[in-house]
């Protein structure tokens, strides 16, 4: 285990390199590109034995990675925002074809109007695709999640997105502990599961009639439900092997006696920790729930940790138009009938908008004082 100062992009690339990916399909997009640049340098320098497929669009990038995976290769790509939207058709294919692809997503706001800044709208748009989605609080999470993602994906034959925010994480240097290659090899034994065989050609994604389509979807969803059990186990294994401190589905911070809980995912979790520390000093019983696994949604774990609180403030760096924040919507749906706590969603930090300690404090105050309970508030207009 050695310690390095790297960006989130470098952490993603390093995670993929340690996992010894064999196929990388990529189309350049900002802010995901430095991860690809770093991986292509590893390949060029002979440090990584991987087929780098350069393509003409993000749709083809994921399609090439899907082909690699169907042939039995450990396959990876990275994208964000518009690129992820363009990929969407293949995102569904990969999940339905049960391919253990891992994809880094350097979250960026979606057009229109055009934005190059961080938010979770791109990841949220893919929330129904059947991909497991992990969120990263810091660059250490990016590396840890990427390595764990391959293990989860391959055991469940379900693809995994590792989300980290554009610029805030993709381009920001942080200290990261890097596991030893030998130990990662032992943690991630390569189990080949080729679906294609040149000596016995078959077609994948053949038509499923109404008699079996529902069954296929049921089986796919069952794998997602298994992920709720597997992800914490993989995180525990990882922590044991590497002396790391990686959470599985969720992590509670100062939650033991908390009356008010902030719930968040991604980089804003780190900022919310600062606020919790500050308010705790003033004697306020406040805690924080970090959601690392957003898909599948860890309903039981969330219900358990929130069961005694009076107030819940959910921070969403995304907006589902006409509904509210995606995380708040999930929390509310899953806490239905579980008590009488106030749950307020806060929409903030869209397209790189302000989402510092001050804005989170505003959201927290709002939850405790609001006349309009259980709805979405916009912070920082």
């Amino acid at each position: 285990m050695n310690k390095v100062l790297i960006t989130g992009s470098e952490a993603a690339a390093l995670g993929a390199k340690l996992a010894k990916i064999e196929v990388l399909g990529y189309y350049p997009i900002t802010p995901a590109f430095p991860a690809m640049e770093r991986l292509s340098k590893y390949i060029e320098d002979g440090e990584l034995n991987c087929k780098f497929i350069r393509v003409e669009s993000d749709h083809s990038a994921l399609a090439s990675v899907l082909g690699g995976s169907l042939a039995g290769a450990r396959s990876y790509t990275v994208t964000n925002s518009q690129g992820l939207l363009l990929m969407t058709e293949v995102v569904y294919h990969a999940a339905g074809l049960r391919q253990p692809i891992v994809m880094g997503v350097a979250n960026r706001a979606l057009s229109a109007p055009h934005s190059r800044f961080p938010e979770h709208g791109d990841a949220v748009s893919q929330g129904a695709t059947g991909w497991i989605q992990l969120f990263s609080e810091n660059n250490q999470d990016v590396l840890d999640n990427t390595i764990q993602a391959f293990r989860v994906a391959e055991e469940l034959r379900t693809p995994v997105m590792v989300n980290y925010e554009g610029y805030l994480q993709s381009h920001t240097l942080e200290e990261v502990f890097v596991p030893d290659q030998g130990k990662v090899d032992a943690f991630l034994p390569l189990k080949r599961m080729p679906a294609l065989d040149v000596t016995n050609p078959r077609g994948v994604n053949t038509v499923a009639g109404p008699d079996v389509y529902t069954d296929y979807k049921y089986i796919q969803n069952a794998a997602m439900e298994q992920a709720l059990e597997l992800i914490p186990k993989v995180a525990a294994d990882y922590n044991r092997e590497f002396g790391a401190n990686s959470c599985g589905l969720i992590e509670g911070y100062m939650m033991d006696d908390a009356e008010h809980a902030i719930v968040a995912m991604g980089s804003i979790v780190g900022t919310a920790r600062l606020l919790v520390d500050e308010l705790r000093k003033q004697g306020k019983k406040i805690g924080l729930v970090k959601v690392k696994t957003w898909r599948p949604f860890p309903a039981q774990a969330v219900n358990q940790i929130l069961k005694n609180v009076k107030y819940v403030t959910v921070l969403d760096k995304n907006i589902v138009f006409g509904v509210g924040g995606a995380l708040a919507t999930d929390i509310k749906a899953n806490l239905y009938g579980q008590g009488s706590m106030v749950i307020n969603g806060a929409i903030l930090g869209l397209g790189g908008g302000k989402c510092g300690v001050k804005e989170i404090k505003e959201a927290v105050d709002h939850t405790e004082s609001s006349e309009n309970k259980n709805r979405s508030e916009w912070i920082g207009l």
Binding site: Q99, R202, G203, V204, N205, T206, V207, D215, Y218
Partner: protein, 92 residues
């Protein structure tokens, strides 16, 4: 109700759909090779379904895969699109 036992990766033999639905076809017109020697090998790349092959022995269409889009006939000599269905008068 029990969940059906299905392959993990939804897959089947090439052309499985055509066989499954052998009472039907998605083609309205089928490409027919009229002059094999004149068929430009580039059509093997243009065909969206990999349904046409051209080699020393000539050009051949795999009708299990061909969707009848007509791209090959548009792009090359030696291929003609002919109606698949020649039923009741007035339809074609």
């Amino acid at each position: 109700m029990a969940v059906k036992n299905l392959p993990i990766v939804p897959s089947g033999d090439p052309g499985a759909l055509v066989e499954a639905a052998n009472y039907a076809t998605w083609r309205i017109f089928r490409p027919v090779i009229t002059e094999s020697a004149k068929v430009n090998p580039i059509v093997t790349l243009y065909c969206p379904d990999g349904a046409i092959t051209v080699d020393e022995s000539g050009a051949e269409v795999n009708y299990k895969l061909c969707k009848g889009c007509g791209i090959c006939a548009k792009e090359s000599e030696g291929i003609q699109m002919v109606p698949e269905y020649t039923g009741p008068k007035g339809v074609f």
